[in-house]
Symmetry: C2
Subunit: 390 residues, 2 copies
């Protein structure tokens, strides 16, 4: 009988992954780069128990049982670990696993939970079976959900597209401590529309967008090289520029898809325009935005600029009940912050009164996955009988 509980982080890409060269192995068309967010504020937690007392493999996700055999990607991750375990502690056929997983953020937030979820699952499984090579863990996580391979490392991470299962893995660009001033504000949009799933969307883009191949072959590598250089030099100005350009081009590819895919709505665009207005007003890149397959804006900035951004966003997006937009995570004092008259005028004629944002998650870069415990303790999501605690 073995038991392990692990935690893994969310990541937010600054150079976007969109499109696969190999649908089965999840080999992407191009490299991508992301920041790993601190697990203090956003993370997945997974407990896995392994015993000959269990009669079958079972899994629960956010308190709902998931039929493992119905999920091809889940099966593939588990089967790969079973094979790898042959050269470590082994997986006797009379032993089964129980998996219990949850996110500390509402799925309704529209944040990609699959990256943190699969990173956590594969990390915990590998650690359980004493498979410790992060390259192997990263490639396994990729089989679950492409961008999960990046959540295996902290700081800023690059997923090398590669050409097969072994070569398509993430590697760390810098640790979270090497650029400690970086902050991320996730603006969670109040939108009930169901977005096109990224798996389906990127397939459709590959099949129908005349521009996607040009992006993958001619633009993204240049973006990756430029942003890596900017990261190495802690050049936020350039980092921000490339991040915005790459996000915009990813959404351009979505629009070039047929039928067109659209993730950014009027609320998303009002944040885009606000950021460009502020950058223009200040004469340098105070912040940059990036959008994944949904309307939420992720803003990267340096810590000294968080207060003016929060104050501006709160003033732009007012709550109908008169309260201020909630900030979850790292809090800042904004009372002393003065909004420039031009910025104030800009916001006043564009402000939105309709509860367009739910809240802002204010966070920083963080580490890769970690083990919380190796026993049935308060961290563990499973009881000793192999069933979820609640």
């Amino acid at each position: 009988m073995k038991i392990i509980t692990a935690q893994a982080p969310v990541n937010i890409a600054v150079i976007k992954y969109w499109g696969k060269k190999d649908e089965n192995l999840i080999i992407p068309l191009n490299d991508s780069i992301s920041g790993t967010l601190s697990m203090e504020h956003l993370c997945a937690t997974t407990s896995i128990a392994f015993s000959n007392e269990f009669d079958s493999n079972r899994m629960w996700l956010n308190n709902v049982e998931v039929k493992i055999e119905d999920n091809k990607r889940l099966v593939r991750c588990i089967e790969n670990v079973r094979k790898l375990a042959e050269s470590t502690i082994g997986w006797p056929s009379d032993h089964h696993i129980r998996i219990c997983s949850k996110n500390n953020f509402p799925t309704a937030a529209g944040l990609a939970s699959s990256a943190a979820g699969y990173a956590c699952l594969c990390y915990a499984l590998c650690k359980l079976f004493e498979i410790n090579d992060p390259k192997i863990i990263s490639s396994l996580a990729r089989l679950g959900s492409g961008s999960a391979c990046r959540s295996i490392y902290g700081g800023i991470v690059r997923w090398i597209a590669g050409y097969d299962h072994q070569t398509s893995i993430a590697r760390q660009v810098i640790t979270e401590n090497e650029w400690p001033e970086i902050r991320i504000l996730v603006c969670v949009v109040n939108d009930h529309r169901k977005d096109t799933s990224s798996t389906f969307g990127m397939q459709l883009s590959c099949q129908t967008s005349p521009l996607i191949k040009y992006r993958a072959e001619h633009v993204v590598l240049e973006h990756c090289d430029q942003i890596t250089k900017a990261i190495m030099e802690r050049n936020f100005e350039k980092f921000a520029e490339i991040t915005m350009k790459d996000s915009n081009q990813f959404h351009a590819i979505c629009q070039d898809t047929y039928p067109p895919i659209r993730y950014m709505n009027d609320i998303s665009w009002s944040i885009v325009n606000l950021i460009h207005f502020i950058n223009n007003l200040f004469g340098y890149n105070v912040a940059c935005y990036t959008f994944d397959a949904g309307p939420n804006a992720c803003i990267y900035c340096l810590d000294n600029n968080v207060p003016i951004l929060i104050k501006s966003i709160r003033r732009m997006f007012q709550k109908s009940d008169g309260t201020e937009l909630a900030i979850n995570g790292i809090t800042y004092q904004t009372d002393q912050i003065n909004i420039d008259q031009k910025l104030s005028d800009y916001i006043d004629i564009r402000k939105r009164m309709g509860d367009d944002l739910k809240y802002i998650i204010s966070t920083r870069l963080g580490s890769g996955p970690k083990i919380l415990s190796n026993q049935y303790d308060s961290n563990c999501l499973l009881s000793a009988n192999g069933l979820p605690k609640n």
Copy 2:
């Protein structure tokens, strides 16, 4: 003393013009194709008087005097005609012109009025000076506003990019009578935002979009060839597909621009999605959308499908005062039209109650510019003293 009054049509591109090879001569990056709309519903009207009794050239546009010398493009059109007139009736230095121009649609409609306006001005000027070659008139109109060169012909028109002033001209693909079933519904969006001007926008795209060159060099010619073939075969299915793809790609280029340019808002996208839903439901392309440098949707369809489209759009976009959305132009009986249950359900959960559309202009393809009169009559916008009538 000579006097002429002419009318010229609006055109709506199905293959988009975006970006210039030569800013000065307005030579576009790529060919473009448009439908010329009937002047019954949308047109520019211009009267030009020519006499030695006038002490200077003067112009009025929609009842406001325009300083000709402040408008480089206007000066260029007039100077070119002056030179061409040397080989026709001549333009003695003691003769001056008076121009009075107006549109029969509100500028607030957000429809590109410059194409009709410059087409009308150049057509009237040329006719006044007995310059009759439509190739010359088309290239002159292009110097005023690129897409104006297409408004010199009726039906469906292709602007050949060319490489210099003489070769960059429009030519007719088919006349309006060769595909009489074509209808155009212009959905005028209620939006007070000031859009990025297309002149500035396309410059910025050329300077910053990594994708625009690929579009211009590799995609647009293919779109032009495919849609020309579809037009020749009266194949609306294919015509609609290419029209939507080209509009989407044009807006993708706008998003790939830095800072990104965005013309389509949530209202525009709700029309995009409605059209795709209807096409999907019916199993063929009932209609297609195309968007210029603004949020208004232009829908191309065949006449038999106008009623279902109008009924669907009216149900989707409700007026807050309970009245039905106004249709200007060709009217249709829609009482007998049944909306399929699936379409009805689709609309009901997405319908917008906020007066998002102002009205719909319902029109067809029409002819090129025409002379209304050669004398001071009721059509003439000028009095005999060379001043506007009102």
